[in-house]
């Protein structure tokens, strides 16, 4: 039986305004979702062209969940987004050309070719680069929240994890520490129903991942992760609550991973009807329709946004392809930090 609250869809433009977004913001959200998908689609092409070493991961189907949560974050909040959360990087303002450079292992990627795919983050934008081990970034996010609590700052940390990673002890320990200390923390579960090839019923025995929240002493809420406005509203509530000293919330965004775990995986194990059903809930198409029905999105506006994104990504690709390969002479530099490395806004 479900324990977590089930979030309602956002009905009207009026409700959206109440949640804190005006029409201009909504067009920005739509644009960010297009950029998110566009970056990953172009990444896929680069991969097929043999320009991306290693493997390639996308978050197709998760654009609303990532963009919705990131839109609700304040400028000084921090987050630890994962491999399905490209939208978070886009909302926080990373320039797509640097993402393409990262994909291709070039010098201008955020990790300068030292790490690949979405293992990146611009710390100046309040993001911390993920590792492959999941959900290893949850305790890090909790530590950020702890720092905010110690310094009595009105800032919130957002930590992402998947429903597969919810099985690991890191998730339990993180929620225990955040819950016992009522830290300004929001846990976001991207439940895309498949951990590689493993379905949810082999990952957790409750109805929802968010049902666990109550056991840690805070609220859990399940939201349709294809509905960007519903995600935004729930994330905003959770972030506002955390900022006001109300402690953590677990927001579970329910989606379907619309591609394989990575490019090599054709996801044969996912029943076809499931793909077909969720394809009807494509987050971008869904939001576009909502904007037309509720916010008078015109053909001209739609074209302008779409062509703007197309142009931006074409330029970004060109620029990334010009980025040099990393210099092997620098390979072992920076294994250890030097005192000057602490000369950052955070460490002042």
């Amino acid at each position: 039986m479900a324990i977590a609250r089930e979030a309602q869809p956002v009905g009207s433009l009026h409700e959206v305004r109440e949640a804190g977004l005006d029409r201009e913001d909504l067009l920005g959200v739509y644009r960010n979702m297009l950029v998110t998908r566009g970056v990953e689609e172009r990444g896929h092409i680069l991969y097929r062209q043999g320009k991306i070493p290693g493997s390639f991961y996308t978050g197709r189907g998760n654009e609303a969940a990532a963009v919705g949560v990131a839109t609700a974050m304040g400028p000084d909040d921090v987050g630890t987004p994962l491999h399905r959360d490209m939208g978070v990087h886009i909302v926080r303002g990373v320039d797509p050309w640097r993402i393409f450079a990262q994909y291709m292992g070039r010098q201008d990627g955020p990790t300068h070719g030292r790490d690949g795919n979405v293992h990146m983050a611009d710390s100046q934008l309040g993001l911390i680069a993920m590792v492959s081990h999941l959900p290893a970034m949850l305790p890090v996010a909790v530590g950020c929240a702890l720092a905010f609590r110690i310094r009595e700052e009105a800032r919130v940390a957002v930590g992402w994890f998947g429903e597969g990673a919810s099985a690991r002890g890191d998730a339990h320990e993180s929620m225990t520490l955040a819950g016992t200390r009522k830290l300004p923390m929001v846990f976001v579960c991207d439940n895309n129903q498949w951990a590689y090839s493993t379905p949810t019923h082999y990952e957790f025995a409750t109805e929802h991942v968010a049902d666990r929240a109550e056991a840690y002493g805070f609220e859990g809420v399940v939201v349709d992760g294809t509905d960007v406005l519903a995600v935004y509203r729930e994330a905003k509530r959770a972030i506002d609550k955390a900022r006001a000293g109300g402690g953590p919330t677990l927001v579970e965004c329910l989606t379907l991973r619309m591609e394989g775990h990575a490019v090599h995986d054709d996801a044969f194990y996912v029943p076809k009807p499931l793909f077909e059903r969720w394809a009807e809930n494509d987050p971008i198409e869904r939001f576009r329709t909502w904007l037309r029905d509720n916010a008078d999105l015109t053909d001209e506006e739609e074209d302008e946004i779409a062509s703007g994104v197309k142009r931006q990504l074409a330029t970004a690709l060109e620029r990334a392809e010009e980025s040099p390969q990393p210099d092997p002479a620098n390979l072992t530099q920076g294994v250890f930090a030097s005192p000057e490395d602490l000369d950052t806004p955070h460490h002042k």
């Binding site: 990790t111 790490d115 530590g143 320990e173 520490l177 200390r181």
Partner: protein, 324 residues
């Protein structure tokens, strides 16, 4: 100067930094109200309050991972593992996230993990280990192993100041047994700089931690044989003072590498290999290693004495070298 125990010197160093730098905080199991399992932080919560001396749930990954997040946000966390052995529960985090974040993502992680380590009092397999070699092998982590009260304070302050994740191995068997003069003011002892514990001409012992004292007792016995033993206390195994080791090798031409950790893959192997590579021509005898056998730490006092290198073992090894 005041005479302090090794444990009091650690407390003094931590208190000094917490008074000086508001960014420093302590988190661990029972570190607050109880003052820590070994009482290193006794009275700290009264002085610094519950948000700078934080009693954590029994969750080592959350403690160490949390310190990483707090460090990235600009604080200077100090985590206490109740026993060094429990760092295995946070191994993944230290090795996967904290150690690689600077190199990979450009984000420094200035934090210290305090690790009460070492055997000698029937702690058994899970309260006696010396896991420094495992971590010295991980690029991005520093490993500090003080032997004296003066170094315990100075190295802890350096560790807190350092912009990297530093594992600070404090030897439990030295806590109350070893006393020494410790300056009252704040001072730092640089990481990566060995200390000549005892000057000698005939044989060098390269060691660290509690084994410094085992080597000292052995060296005194060898004095009566007319064998002069030099003891080099590495102080930190990562970074380690290669230059000081090679200098001592060149002086005595005979070397014993001694540690309490197990033999195979122990850090002594790295030292011996480096000596073989860089000072082969200076050697008058094969480099000798003395370490615990490749076996878990036993509980029974009889077994533990067999396990941890004893003074007699060191004396035997040194005599063999001297006679070679």
């Amino acid at each position: 100067m005041a005479e302090l125990t090794y444990l009091q010197a650690i407390s003094d160093g931590l208190r000094t930094e917490m008074r000086r730098d508001k960014r420093v905080f302590l988190i661990g199991e029972d570190v607050g109200v109880y003052g820590g399992a070994f009482k290193v932080s006794l009275g700290f919560q009264e002085e610094f309050g519950p948000w700078r001396v934080i009693d954590a749930p029994l969750a080592e990954t959350a403690i160490v991972g949390g310190c990483t997040g707090a460090a990235i946000m600009g604080l200077r966390p100090v985590a206490e593992m109740q026993f060094a052995d429990f760092i295995s529960c946070a191994w993944d985090h230290l090795v996967t996230v904290a150690a690689k974040q600077r190199w990979r993502a450009g984000t420094p992680v200035p934090m210290v993990v305090r690790l009460p380590s070492g055997g000698g009092f029937s702690g058994g397999p899970f309260h006696s280990q010396n896991p420094e070699s495992s971590f010295a092998h991980i690029p991005g982590l520093k490993c500090v192993c003080p032997a004296t009260p003066e170094d315990a304070k100075g190295l802890l302050i350096s560790a807190i100041e350092d912009p990297n994740p530093v594992l600070y191995f404090e030897h439990k068997h030295l806590y109350r047994r070893i006393k020494g003069e410790v300056p009252e003011e704040r001072y730092t002892t640089p990481l990566g700089k060995a200390r000549t514990h005892r000057e000698g001409d005939d044989v060098s012992v390269i060691t660290w931690g509690a084994m410094v004292y085992t080597a000292e007792e052995a060296a005194q016995q060898l004095d009566s044989d007319g064998v002069s033993v030099e003891i080099l206390d590495l102080r930190t195994v990562m970074p380690w003072d290669k230059a000081a080791v090679l200098e001592s090798v060149r002086k005595t031409s005979k070397v014993l590498v001694l540690h309490e950790d197990t033999r195979s893959g122990g850090f002594g192997g790295e030292i011996a290999a480096t000596i073989a590579e860089e000072a082969f021509e200076d050697l008058d005898a094969p480099v000798k290693r003395l370490a615990a056998p490749d076996c878990p730490v036993p509980f029974s006092p009889v077994l533990e004495k067999t396990y941890i290198p004893q003074v007699d073992d060191v004396v035997g090894a040194l005599r063999e070298l001297a006679e070679y």
